[in-house]
Amino acid sequence: MSDSINTETSTDAQASTGTQASTDGESPGIQTTAGESEERVREEWTQYQFDGAAKLSVEDLNVWYGDDHALKDVSMEIPENSVTALIGPSGCGKSTYLRCLNRMNDRIKAARVDGSVELEGTEIYDSNANLVELRKRIGMVFQSPNPFPKSIRENISYGPRKHGDINKGLLARLFGRDDTEAEAELVERSLKQAALWDEVSDRLDDNALGLSGGQQQRLCIARCLAVDPEVILMDEPASALDPIATSKIEDLVEELSKEYTVVIVTHNMQQAARISDQTAVFLTGGELVEYDDTDKIFENPESQRVEDYITGKFG
């Protein structure tokens, strides 16, 4: 497992390395993709003011994969109960950034993280941080649907069972403390939240791998919701899905933002414009270039590069 670099992250890392190599000769120090104009990132572009409390506040976050500097001095605050979209070209570090928020990068041996991420004022990179609790509070949905090869019911109740919130073992059954009813409620609630209940309610004991791709992804969202998180991180959740499944996921994200803080990485700028409240644009080299209200970013960005990216001049 130690050599298991998530595909997405490794392509990100490779892509940025490749860029570095191709542009080093022309303009040392600044890495750009072809067609990207040169400019300095100004600090005020990333100063996003919002009402209400910040759920997550990130300060001076740097990530290296070996010698490769994947994320540079990223600071941003993510407001509560809203949808934050992260956009940018391939290899800009947005997935890396997302994985820093619930410390999934710990699973990559080559990754080194420096900086601070606070969840409601508590530092999650503290050496005493309780990773189980952290990941219970900050859930994650991945790019490709990854249900376990178990029944739909077991997929949903997996997290709570492993955390000891639901007890269905032989001993529990013998002593009459069997939580089957609680499990049934949890499964129903989570699946309804993920808008999947009507499609699967009569086959909860079937293997989850028999579902269609869109259904699998919604099952993954339901599985994530079952542990009752506060923040949901989504890494391009609709990129492997067809348009109908994508629109279902998008509706779901909007619905979820009423109760949860959603951070979503996407390649699809229309999607970001449709569903997010605020948007952060990462550009080549692992920099956060601009972070503001979605309308502001898409209609009147400060940075020339961001405007070029959004209008499709590069990326």
């Binding site: 497992m1 619930n102 999934m104 189980v132 990854n146 376990f148 090869p149 492993k162 002593f175 028999g210």
Partner: protein
């Protein structure tokens, strides 16, 4: 489009013409020749067979071919399994033609098998030449390439080189260098013939030449049956009886390849068909080799192995019951919709049921009429180096006694099978307050009994001279048993007493009683049953033991419930009611099987047999299989059996598996999931691979020199288990690592993102997904160690004809000082099947070779049984992962 593409081929090929049919027949003749080659190679038909023996052999061949082709043709003609392929039809006709002409030749000509095989080769060669010439002359529509290609050319060149070597050696001798010239010339000639002309000539002429040479050599008797060649450089020699079949196999493969190329019109399609045919015949050859080995050992050993089997009809019926249930399940599975086929498929699905049913009826007839079924045969033993024929028989007696093991095993199997099909009856029917309180009381009562069992286990049934077991224990057993009996009849009583409008309605109303009755009854009775020997009591009601009587009552009541609900289901229309009643039926069957198992368990535990209506359950069952169930009888008339060796082998495998699988799997988990991938893991990998390829005798020497001095100084079962475990370890480690590595990382990511710790992730996601792979490794490893002989000779001793088996289970003793548990049986030498085979057959230790073959046969069966268990387990785990 350029002109080069102007003359494209037809999209659909025309009907077969004479050329096509002829080649189909050639391919069919090759197939027949190939089969004959294998038959003669294993000596099923001798090569010098002539006259009536030859006619008989070809009559059999004709019957087989005509039967197979006839049935398929009939199925095709009636539209059951339509055969549309022209080629398959052609080959079918060709098979019949070949078989008929061969049979006619065998009758008409005064020849031997060998000559006839040579004729087959010559005919093949002629057909190939004709096909090649027809194609070259442009009579038929083919699309050959410029050349047959260098690959084919070099193959024929090599064949030519070999031929030339033999011919040169025969003509001028190996003394003069001329033989090399002849060899090179022949090789170059064949290479040129293959590569230079157009493909249709190149890929027919060379095989025709080679096949014709082989055929001529055989027909002219240059290489006959009695022919022998002992080259001075080799210690062995070649005999005609081995060489001619090999000629035939090789020649028919070649001509099949060539004929297939011709049939498909050369070019890319020709190569495709040729390769298809050769690969298929190859696979067929491999399967045939394996089947031959198994068949050979079986034929040699089965007569001795099954001598003197006597079995009671009732015992057979009980053993047959899981098969009956399986057959019913099979018959119930849907038969599809296609109109004509539905009937046939239904027939096919009912067949196993009919088979089991007829067998069961025969057995029931034996039981009722009291007559005996008997199949008599003879087998040969070696007495003073002379074969002595002994009469024996397989007998089915009308004995109505059932052994405990033969009752418990099928009953448990059925209970588990029904339980797996059973869903749940949760939240159906009216849950009354009284059932609620009983539901609460049952687990408490079971826990009380379990606590009592624990007490008596620790302090004994009469601590400090107080007869606690006789009083308290007795009362508890009686109370528990009676309560269990009451629970078991509860569903039946509930349904009958309920005032529902119909049977179905009352069964639906009283659904809560079903689970309570069956599971509560089974649980309580099991606890009472275990308490019984621990408290050293055995309550009687008159002459009858209480516990089995109640168990029997429970079984009958549950069966009655099952019958009742089935009857109610027939009269019910509503889907939900029907589904509920089906559940109740299954539950009733779980109860019936479970309570029956408990009857057997009681007899096994107490040793007191239980008889009702002339049917009895006893420790001494009515199955007698001398070879498997008896030990060697010294100086007896009957030589007895090899039970100690079977027991030894089973314990060796079980011990080695218990030792190696946890260790290997644990190491695999550590190396794959936890350890940093680097030099250390690479080193471990190399070391494991090296360990896996270490010769087994080295393991044996290690065991003999290192383990035995530390394990009491004598050859022992434990040393054997450990040595076999060491051998199994690397394979388990390697396959487990591969299986764990192949579990997708997405599962681990998903689990980590839910906040689940790594160990929990491994336990509940990674290992279940890796399980089929792990089990595959264990199956392979067990196959290797079960038959391992060399290390066992060194560490286990080669106890021949042991008179008693090791008693591992009974050998455990608890002592008051470390190590607290000792087992003398593990430290004694034991017999084992492979060492027994080795001693009897290879080392020539006194004993009959027939017995050796029978032992080998039983060893094969034991290994296959282990395989079956492993494959079942793998299928189970794989099905859990699949979404079918």
């Amino acid at each position: 489009m350029s002109d080069a593409y102007a003359t494209t081929d037809r999209l659909v090929s025309a009907e077969s013409n004479v050329y096509d049919r002829g080649l189909d027949a050639t391919i069919a003749l090759s197939v027949v020749g190939f089969a004959l080659g294998m038959v003669t190679l294993v000596g099923l038909v001798p090569l010098d067979a002539g006259g009536s023996a030859l006619t008989g052999a070809f009559a059999t061949l004709l019957a087989v071919v005509v039967g197979a082709v006839g049935i398929s043709g009939l199925a095709s003609y009636t539209g059951v399994a339509p055969i549309t392929s022209q080629r398959v039809r052609g080959i079918g006709i060709g098979l019949v033609v070949s078989a008929v002409s061969l049979a006619v030749l065998a009758v008409a000509l005064p020849v031997t098998m060998a000559t006839l095989l040579g004729v087959v080769l010559l005919v093949e060669a002629l057909a190939l030449v004709a096909a090649g010439a027809t194609s070259r002359a442009g009579v038929v529509d083919t699309e050959p390439n410029m050349s047959a290609g260098l690959l084919a050319g070099s193959v024929f060149g090599a064949v030519g080189l070999a031929f030339g070597t033999v011919i040169g050696g025969a003509l001028v001798g190996f003394g003069s260098p001329l033989w090399a010239v002849v060899a090179l010339a022949t090789g170059a000639f064949l290479l040129a013939v293959t590569v230079l002309p157009r493909e249709d000539v190149g890929s027919t002429a060379s095989p025709a030449l080679v096949v014709a040479t082989l055929g001529l050599v055989v027909v002219t008797g240059v290489v006959g049956v009695g022919w022998q060649w002992n080259p001075q450089t080799l210690s062995g020699g070649f005999t005609g009886s081995a060489v001619i079949p090999v000629f035939l196999l090789f020649g028919t493969l070649l001509s099949a390849w060539s004929a297939a190329k011709c049939r498909a019109g050369f070019g890319a399609r020709g190569r495709e068909y040729g390769a298809f045919l050769v690969i298929n015949l190859n696979a067929f050859l491999m399967v045939a080799v394996m089947a031959t080995i198994v068949l050979f050992v079986t034929l040699k050993g089965v007569g001795y192995a099954v001598h003197g089997i006597t079995v009671g009809a009732l015992t057979l019926l009980v053993v047959l019951s899981p098969a009956l249930v399986g057959a019913v399940q099979f018959a119930r599975s849907p038969a599809g919709t296609s109109d004509w086929n539905t009937g046939v498929r239904q027939l096919f699905r009912v067949l196993p049921l009919a088979l089991v049913g007829s067998l069961g009826t025969v057995l029931a007839g034996v039981l009722l009429t009291g007559s005996t079924l008997r199949y008599a045969f003879t087998y040969v033993v070696q007495v003073n180096r002379a074969g002595e024929t002994i009469d024996t028989a397989i007998t089915v007696t009308p004995d109505a006694t059932v052994g405990t093991l033969l009752l418990i095993a099928p009953a448990l199997l059925l209970a588990v099978a029904f339980f797996r099909a059973f869903g749940s009856l949760r939240s159906v029917g009216t849950q009354s307050a009284r059932t609620g309180s009983v539901r609460q009381a049952v687990p408490t009562a079971i826990l009380g009994l379990v606590a009592l069992i624990g007490c008596f286990l620790v302090v004994g049934p009469s601590p400090f001279g107080l007869p606690l077991g006789g009083t308290l224990g007795f009362a508890a057993v009686v109370a528990g048993t009676l309560a269990a009996g009451a629970l078991a009849v509860l569903p039946l009583a509930g349904v009958l007493a309920s005032n529902g409008s119909s049977l179905a309605a009352s069964a639906q109303d009283e659904a809560p009683l079903f689970t309570l009755g069956v599971f509560g009854g089974l649980g309580l009775l099991t606890a009472a049953l275990v308490l019984q020997p621990v408290a050293a009591v055995n309550p009687l009601v008159g002459p009858v033991n209480l516990v089995p009587a109640v168990a029997l009552l429970g079984a009958v009541a549950s069966l009655a419930v099952a019958v009742l609900t089935t009857a109610a289901r027939r009269g019910s229309e509503e889907t939900i009611t029907r589904r509920l009643l089906a559940e109740e039926t299954r539950l009733g069957l779980v109860g019936a099987a479970g309570f029956t198992a408990l009857v057997g368990l009681h007899v096994a535990v107490t040793g007191v047999s239980f008889t009702v209506l002339g049917v009895s359950v006893a420790n001494e069952g009515s199955l007698s299989w001398p070879m498997v169930m008896q030990a060697y009888i010294p100086l007896g008339l009957e030589p007895g059996g090899i039970m100690p060796a079977i027991v030894g082998t089973v314990w060796l495998v079980v011990g080695a598996t218990l030792f190696a699988v946890p260790l290997g799997l644990g190491a695999a988990v550590f190396l794959t999931e936890y350890a940093e991938q680097g030099r250390f893991t690479a080193l471990v990998e190399i070391a494991t691979n090296a360990l896996w390829s270490t010769p087994s005798i080295v393991f044996g020497l290690f065991g003999a020199a290192f383990l035995i001095p530390r394990l009491g100084g004598d050859e022992s079962l434990l040393a054997g288990m450990l040595v076999l475990g060491f051998m199994l370890l690397p394979l388990v480690l390697i396959t487990s690592r591969e299986a764990i590595k192949s579990v997708p990382n997405e599962y681990r990511d998903a689990s980590t993102a839910l906040g689940v710790t790594q160990w929990e992730t491994i336990k509940s996601v990674v290992l279940p997904a890796a399980m089929p792979g792990v089990i595959t490794g264990v199956i392979l490893g067990v196959g290797r160690i079960a038959g391992e002989t060399a290390p066992l000779i060194l560490v286990l001793g080669s106890t021949l004809n042991a008179t008693n088996a090791v008693d591992v289970v009974g050998g455990f003793r608890f002592v008051a000082r470390p190590p607290f548990v000792v087992n003398d049986a593990l430290l004694t030498a034991s017999a084992s099947l492979p060492t027994q085979v080795w001693a009897v057959i290879a080392a020539g230790v006194s004993g009959s070779p027939q017995m050796g073959w029978a032992t080998a046969f039983i060893l094969l069966m034991v290994v296959l049984t282990f395989y079956a268990v492993g494959i079942t387990a793998r299928t189970y785990f794989r099905r859990k992962l699949d979404y079918e």
